[in-house]
Symmetry: C3
Subunit: 661 residues, 3 copies
Amino acid sequence: MAQLIHGSDYNPEQWLDRPDIIDGDIRLMKKAGMNSMSIGIFSWSVLEPEEGKYDFSFLDMIMEKFYQNDIKAILATPSGARPRWLAEKYPEVLRTDSLGRKQVFGGRHNHCHSSPIFREKITAINTLLAKRYKDHPSLFMWHISNELSGGCFCPRCRKAFIDYLKKQYNNDLDKLNHDWWTTFWSHTYTNWEQIEPPSPLGDTNLHGLNLAWNRFITHLCADYIKTEVAPLKEITPNIPTTINMMDMFTGLDYEVLKDEVDIISWDNYPHWHSENDYDAAIKADFAHDWFRSLKHKPFFMMESTPSLVNWQGYNRPKRPGMHILSSLAAVAHGSDSVQYFQWRKSRGSSEKFHGAVIDHCGRDDTRVFKEVSELGKILQSISDVAGTQIKSEVAIIYDTQNRWALDDAQALCNKDKQYFAQVLDHYRALRKLGVNIDVIGSCQDFSSYKLICAPMLYMISEQNANRLKDFVKNGGVLVSGYFSAVVNENDLCYLGGCPGGGLGEVFGVWAEEIDTLLPGNTVSVADEQNTYTAADFCEVIHPTTAKTLLKYTQEFYQGTPAACVNSYHNGKAYYIAYRDSGKFYDVLYDNITTELGICREKSVLPYGLLIQKRGGLTFVGNYSENYIDFIIPDGSYDIVSGSQGRLSLQPYGVLAITKKE
Amino acid sequence: MAQLIHGSDYNPEQWLDRPDIIDGDIRLMKKAGMNSMSIGIFSWSVLEPEEGKYDFSFLDMIMEKFYQNDIKAILATPSGARPRWLAEKYPEVLRTDSLGRKQVFGGRHNHCHSSPIFREKITAINTLLAKRYKDHPSLFMWHISNELSGGCFCPRCRKAFIDYLKKQYNNDLDKLNHDWWTTFWSHTYTNWEQIEPPSPLGDTNLHGLNLAWNRFITHLCADYIKTEVAPLKEITPNIPTTINMMDMFTGLDYEVLKDEVDIISWDNYPHWHSENDYDAAIKADFAHDWFRSLKHKPFFMMESTPSLVNWQGYNRPKRPGMHILSSLAAVAHGSDSVQYFQWRKSRGSSEKFHGAVIDHCGRDDTRVFKEVSELGKILQSISDVAGTQIKSEVAIIYDTQNRWALDDAQALCNKDKQYFAQVLDHYRALRKLGVNIDVIGSCQDFSSYKLICAPMLYMISEQNANRLKDFVKNGGVLVSGYFSAVVNENDLCYLGGCPGGGLGEVFGVWAEEIDTLLPGNTVSVADEQNTYTAADFCEVIHPTTAKTLLKYTQEFYQGTPAACVNSYHNGKAYYIAYRDSGKFYDVLYDNITTELGICREKSVLPYGLLIQKRGGLTFVGNYSENYIDFIIPDGSYDIVSGSQGRLSLQPYGVLAITKKE
Amino acid sequence: MAQLIHGSDYNPEQWLDRPDIIDGDIRLMKKAGMNSMSIGIFSWSVLEPEEGKYDFSFLDMIMEKFYQNDIKAILATPSGARPRWLAEKYPEVLRTDSLGRKQVFGGRHNHCHSSPIFREKITAINTLLAKRYKDHPSLFMWHISNELSGGCFCPRCRKAFIDYLKKQYNNDLDKLNHDWWTTFWSHTYTNWEQIEPPSPLGDTNLHGLNLAWNRFITHLCADYIKTEVAPLKEITPNIPTTINMMDMFTGLDYEVLKDEVDIISWDNYPHWHSENDYDAAIKADFAHDWFRSLKHKPFFMMESTPSLVNWQGYNRPKRPGMHILSSLAAVAHGSDSVQYFQWRKSRGSSEKFHGAVIDHCGRDDTRVFKEVSELGKILQSISDVAGTQIKSEVAIIYDTQNRWALDDAQALCNKDKQYFAQVLDHYRALRKLGVNIDVIGSCQDFSSYKLICAPMLYMISEQNANRLKDFVKNGGVLVSGYFSAVVNENDLCYLGGCPGGGLGEVFGVWAEEIDTLLPGNTVSVADEQNTYTAADFCEVIHPTTAKTLLKYTQEFYQGTPAACVNSYHNGKAYYIAYRDSGKFYDVLYDNITTELGICREKSVLPYGLLIQKRGGLTFVGNYSENYIDFIIPDGSYDIVSGSQGRLSLQPYGVLAITKKE
């Protein structure tokens, strides 16, 4: 039976001397309409207080209470943080940083992923957990570790890196030297043992090495996840696994890690009210679409705050309404859950002021508790949406490995090349039209889309470039532009002109040089009717077969093309040579989506309004501080409020519109 | 016989090859009206050029010259900086930093306070100094080391930390785990040896550990001071001791260290003319009041500059008048001295451009020399003030340990929670009324005050909270507000609602949540007559028994209380839930001081004017760039100028008003 | 026969698997009018792939192609970067940083200069290179290493430092203690082995040590260069040597290094179009004049970009015209070459996006290639200028060691004392008059000049001060001002008043104190006719024999002198006590140059225009974005365009005017 999960991280091990508090918690969970709890995330010290001495009594107790109260348990493996005795006895589990400094015990998420001891110990406890709870009716999902991240630079990890490279390169060191272009600065490797990870004490600018290292970190993390998952899958083959990923995190390539788990989940912490809410909402929607598109299946929003966080520059409570609005946005974009960090604020240590359903006061008459409870009811009323898929006709390519390479490149401006911001510019223009969008890596299948946007796709393999070429050949529309297809998958420049990898003929242009504008400076761009504004980057291009859409009207390249379109076999490819301030993207996507008959709103949505469709529901959210007029179509109504017809949607208001039965 | 000290740091050991310069110095000291010199501060290398080989000849010579010229000697123990041979032979005296890096020789004030060798060596030389000069008539005071600060992370200090904790916790590791809330993130200690100091390589966010480490650093420093003082007190029991403390220094808790010495002294370096002078004066006055209130006795201003410093961002000479004005302000607030760093600029090294009475030119016709000499005469004319006590009816709680905990907390905004600025806001409002104020820690006795202001008192023990409660019960007026009484003395949150520790009933409110405003943003607050402005923090509160004074008129909490007052037994407690821009504090303290009959000026002082009373004198200073009208009461006159009646006080002008006899 | 070099860095070793590309390169070099290539700079790994196994085949091949195509080879010694095997086998060649951290392999230019192994290995390969190519007709010049820089803090370098000091101090440690004023903070050295390099872990503020360390780094680098040059000079005594110096680099004192090579060359990378072009041009001209004045001979511009760089904050392509304009400016100021980094963009690694004559596309129809080719023709047309000397009647003292000491001083404002900016202010005022200028260190000969400007000459030895005195005595005009002659060559303050070193009587003033203004603040200064503006620094001075030119009209020093002139024997000395915003310098130098009959333009040049004379040619450049009217004198014409008479010079336009024959 379809059900939306409403849950939270829960740490009862902090309150074992206060059974009154734990009993109160269970009561309040039910009151708040919550049906799931993530537990055990940081419980290793309690579960295994001494090496090999296990004590599952608190988990037994909590699982039993959950069972009695119909609460699902998302049971974590405890590797989010290790016990002190483990680090004390086996220092190999501690990481070494890029300066060669061995870490001391502290923090979390910071084990050496290559440590055999650590893998042995986590395997042991995971096995015991799986065996103990395999038949427990409350066991709902495995939560593997917590917010995995980071790399280690210890000698063992270095060796694993070298072994990884040997395998990748089939023992061909010459090929590695060529790919990393080591003849430059006389950096040729003459044996494998000379390879060291990037380090401020050695090389930080050998881009091939940096890229390989980043890939290795993801590879090692995937391998580590396999270790954790193995006993779980063996003992509880039907319990799904997940890792909770992080918002736009660039330290790992989630396109690789996604294959290691059954369900994608992520932790969602927008900067509500400290950055512009509409911008923050677009970013959050983008992230939802990205995580959903990893597996093209519903995902879980494993963490969010019911109120505020405590680690941002300015930690602001969600204004009334925002919690329900932003939670339903997750569901609209494909989440089958709304979950929180955290159920109850801890009494001490670093996250004691992170928002929670229950504050230190322990009361249930707070604004936060009331909004959470209200949301609980709404989630029940729209539970049919659970499990439904989202179909998008449009995809935006956002590629983590491209981001690695682009950010690492010494070119253009070195502070921030604005890759993510540029991708968001395209996303925003499409979202203003109410289009559902997939956000995919460049390795994904392109064939199901009508339109693909691939801005600043600096790095692309010939293979993927060929697949893009086929996409256009077969009638697809491709939009890209400046500084795209510059290097292959090893960060080696394509020879023969950009865009490379065979995409020059698709776009029908070659790009000669690129101007980087100073902050605040702009260059005018125009067609015969309209004028647009370029900032940051202006590429000087030469159409070969493409038709010019826009020309620069300033700077030394005035009169030359600023945007082109090329008909290529059955499709079209647009090349936008500059970074537009947004207006041209609006016009462009209005035209393209109309032309392609893509499902969208009739007209451009007013500022602040965002619409997403899922499972027969149309979710409408107001992220502005003003009331916005909206008409619910005849024959439909808002499940949340029961409203029909014309209404004025309040700030932070949200509708979940469905057809009357 | 009462005498104000007029003195300076003096380093004749730098000029031993220039007896002409040393003789000239003595002559010029007398000409400048100086009666005391601090010597020997950095003389260890000269006094003990090789291990165990001592040479006191230069000190003998200088002490003799002082005697002949009636100059008091404030004799320093030489641990301000160690000789190279000591570090070379015994590297244990060098500190290890928080990254585990052993320091090499250099700088100053950076010995390992736990080093037995260092303690042995300083004990030896202190003993010799005390024996040699115990009967010397010029020996006036012992100046222990210099500007003590900082901690060491060596294995020996770590062990001392563990021993300190064992003692604090009576060997109860469970109690420590509870206080530090180590179950969070699975950081439970299972043996004492697992405890490490905070480190960027390990834990920086275990707040209980951070707090304990800070307390330990102060504890170890106090213990170190005991070692230095022991031989001095044994041999010269009647010579007072001091350590020169630093302006608002947060590295040590001076409330603890104050007990190790006889006399409080401090080094006073406001940013005159590079920050607003009036603001700088209020800060300097606050610091004077803080240092005086440590022992509630006259203190020494051990250092100040006669002209400029050389280490600020922009080093500006004091404008004409400022030197006399700011020096008399020290006396007004309880100093029995005006002392300088430094008498003569050194020829080389890092402080050669720090202001001095005598510049490299060696002349006595400089502006600086003339102003110093003029001040010398004034100090003689008001010498009766020496030794007199200051009585305050008002106290502000400024608590170093609270500052540690609050700055360390991850909450609100993480850049700067503005604790000190907020305390100063209250101080300023009271100073505008000409009120004398004590600045005390939360462990001090409250019973002698009519009014206590305790802004942002985030951390308070139940014991001290009870004492505050008693203060109000007994008729006192207490002012506090947002984010107060949140945690106990171990940084553990009070359960059951804030303000905690039993203060909820005193204020008659509970605080539900807190909004952190973005920089530049404000929220309006009003009563029926007036509108005020909130910035930075707005707490949402619920009065239980309190009466609402102000309400928010904006934001989602509009219409809710912004300030309350609660009658509690014989007293009253004000709770200001937001950070006011200042105007409300002015109104509030005008009313409260009037109501309580606190000694103050009749009306609010004009901008720039500050008044402080001590020993029958009323000191009036003009810290603005404008002339300010002032009327000296009938029957009184200004000792400095002889003026009476109405006058126009020039910029940087100062009056010392006394009754005619 | 006179010839201007038109060349580039060339790295064919990166393309050995693409002989088609190498052959194409040679063809395109000829097409672009290039006659020289710098090769072998980073070829060590190719030339000596294993220790002791050499392979010169690629160099043989390239040298042969050069010979056949009449291209000169500037052959580099390969120490710009070492092979990996060298560091792997002999870790001693790697540097240790100031924190004591041994570097791992990576980067470039970062060998330990004291390593005997490194010297042995570079000597071996240099010897082989010299022997192999000594009779090769293409061998034109030796390019020693590449952009030498930096120091090492390893124990061997520390020992070398101590030995250097023993020699400098003739084993007199007392003298060193005196010079470094170590009695301050009890830092007296009692044996030589106590000396450590400056380090954040030890001393960073012992200014005498810092200065000595900087001098030692230059000394060790000079010694290292001697090692590299020795075999080359022995085997090829007639082939000139050079090191490519860096733009205003402060890490080494080029006044010392200049003596180690035959020809000065430098790498010139202005921030065209990201800072103001006129300002950038003045800085570039200043650098040209500085490098030329090192040997007072023509120099080489060894590197520049034909388009853009990739390491600045914002990397902007040169606008059309700028390449020819800025290249001819180099020639105008004494360069006998226009050379580029780089001929062809590498495919991978950190400099793959640094501008080059040939881009990844490999085309010769790019804007860059066309402008480079056009310049090639122009350089041929003005080839007679090659080898001609530049005669200047004016010198500005810009002293690297003064900059070290001044930047290191804790005084005034500690962020930036604006030394270089202040020197440029004077330079600019003179350049606006079209005056040719030498830029010299304070150790150079002064006798050939009519006017010497020495702003902010904080550090000057008595010997050099005496030479300046003689310069004025003998009729020279000297301009200096605030914070000059404060310390001697050991950073010890002159006693007896500033300016010291005997210059007080030359300027006829003594400086009592100095005010540092806050950013944005100004103070008015005036004579009877005009008002000027002071910023940053205002010194309070007392004329003894000088005549007052300007007075302060604000601040506490209003009415006191702000600028003076003193007649001293046959000359004059100007003392400008404040930092002028520029207008007064314009007036001052207009008057002085007129009075002294210095060769200059009749009137002040319009904004953007710069003029420099060399070898019968007058170079006129327009660094503004506007057209500027200009009249070519009768009887002369512009070699570049053939223009005569009145013309309107376009933005980034340049003239090379010569007399008709």
